[in-house]
Amino acid sequence: MMRVMDSGGQMQKPNSCGDIGLRLLWNILHWVLNIFFMIVSLAQMLQSFLISNSSYQTLNIHKLKYLGVAIDSEEAKQTQKVARLLEWLTSIGVKNVCLYDTEGILTKSKDTITECQDVRNSLSHQNVEVEFTSFHDGKEAVTKAANFLFKKYYLHSNQEKSTLAELHMGEALEATGCGGPEPDLLLIYAPTRIHLGFPAWRIRYTEIVHMGSLNSMKFGLLIKAIHKFTMVRQNYGNNSY
């Protein structure tokens, strides 16, 4: 039975036939939505199967300079799946990957993932750079940069205080070890399309694509997302904002 919420998020008992009727209609609306998503999911499975079994020669992977992958922290605990995803990415030809999750599960399992037999072979043969980040590399990093700038331009400076520019922030982030390139494409493996708190300074103009849950990750859909990205880049170039 679906919970009925008022604006304060409190559970409310239906107190009239009208309310029961509205609740029923709301449930029907969501059942229809769920059926729609089930059909979409089946169609995606079929599409992935077809893509995986066809040859994808023209991927133009060189257009993808830096790939970000943000994974929901609960799902990131499945290190085998993450290792498999990394293996798929290296097999496609991705050279630079940033793996992110909010709680830092991936950073903690870094060794487990990269020491996985197949992953280790792919990483070394293909010269792939893998970066691991978490939420602390976002907001906490900005705080560290703020303190760095404060010490440099306020505390230990005798000069007149000038206005801080974005350039100074960028330099401070680099100096505190929290800089890093901006991904061209960010793939989201989570129940819904949210960027999970990926460091703000690094996703200003990043294309953000939702891949579904990590549990249902598919090689064909990965190819499709990257291919679509390279086609869009072809049409609009890197200067569009």
């Binding site: 009925v4 609306l29 705080t143 404060f150 103009y205």
Partner: protein
């Protein structure tokens, strides 16, 4: 006689459409309604191109869509609506286009202050968010006037991001935090002029915390958005609300901004309701 019949038919049709929309909103309200929705108004120029009209007409059509969407949002019960009206990056566009948009903004801001406008109908407090010093004087003055005139409204809030980018917002928040901390230290040393403030104490008192920075963000006046909509199918955030959107659903309908309608809002809200338990769980963890 025929004109009277036609206008009566039109009024009846309009009323029944309104009634159906309100009924749909009542159904949706059974589930959680987002508190804050943000919109990137992308696609005005492409819309004008599509209809083979001059660029300005796209922006004007976009304004009409904005009024409709605001009406729907506030009727549904979304208390905060943020719109990305003009990015700092947009100053790089052709000067004629920038001037056109500035003139249009001036016209529309002045329109908002009129008696019969949407602002008074829905009790909207209007806030202009961004580096307002980058705007020309007439627009900046009009914006300040609008904020002052609507400051007592408390039903709903409209945040208009002009001369805004997230990176500029973060930099500004850091700068203000530094200035505040510097002033704090000065007052501390001034009040204890006879004591020497040891370097260790100086280090401890000079730490800027995350809460200091968050307090000084332009968007600290509103809760984080629940849904961020960018039209025209673009999947980038283009330096908009990057700090505030960690737990925010990103929705990119293919429709251009002047083509956005009720169906997109309903779809966004249904999807929000579908994953609400997940979002709430994340909110409590963050």
């Amino acid at each position: 006689m025929e004109n009277k019949d036609n206008s009566l038919a039109a009024r009846l049709f309009g009323s029944s459409v309104n009634y159906m929309r309100r009924f749909l909103f009542r159904i949706l309200s059974v589930g959680p309604i987002p508190r804050h929705m943000a919109f990137i108004l992308d696609g005005n120029r492409r819309f004008a191109k599509k209809l083979k009209r001059e660029e300005g007409s796209g922006h004007r059509a976009g304004f009409l869509s904005l009024m409709s969407m605001l009406k729907y949002c506030y009727e549904l019960g979304v208390k905060y609506v943020t719109i990305y009206a003009f990015s700092i990056d947009n100053f790089k566009r052709r000067p004629e286009e920038v001037q056109y948009v500035m003139d249009l903004m001036l016209e529309k801001i002045e329109g908002l202050l009129k008696e019969e406008s949407i602002v008074n109908q829905y009790g909207i407090k209007v806030l202009f968010i961004g580096n307002l010093k980058l705007l020309n004087e007439p627009v900046r003055l009009a914006a300040e006037k609008a904020m002052k005139a609507t400051s007592n409204n408390s039903n709903n809030v409209l945040l208009i991001c002009v001369a805004y980018t997230s990176t500029d917002e973060i930099t500004h928040a850091v700068e203000v935090s530094c200035q505040e901390k510097w002033k704090e230290i000065h007052e501390l040393t001034a009040s204890r002029a006879d004591e020497e403030l040891s370097e260790e104490k100086e280090e401890v008192s000079s730490i800027i915390k995350l809460t200091d920075i968050e307090r000084h963000m332009y968007m600290a006046v509103a809760p984080d958005p629940d849904i961020l909509v960018r039209t025209s199918g673009e999947t980038r955030l283009s330096n908009f609300l990057l700090w505030q959107s960690s737990n925010c659903i990103l929705y990119s309908p293919k429709a251009l901004w002047p083509e956005i309608g009720l169906r997109h809002l309903v779809w966004a809200v249904l999807n929000f309701q579908r994953v609400y338990p997940y979002l709430e769980k994340r909110r409590k963890q963050l």
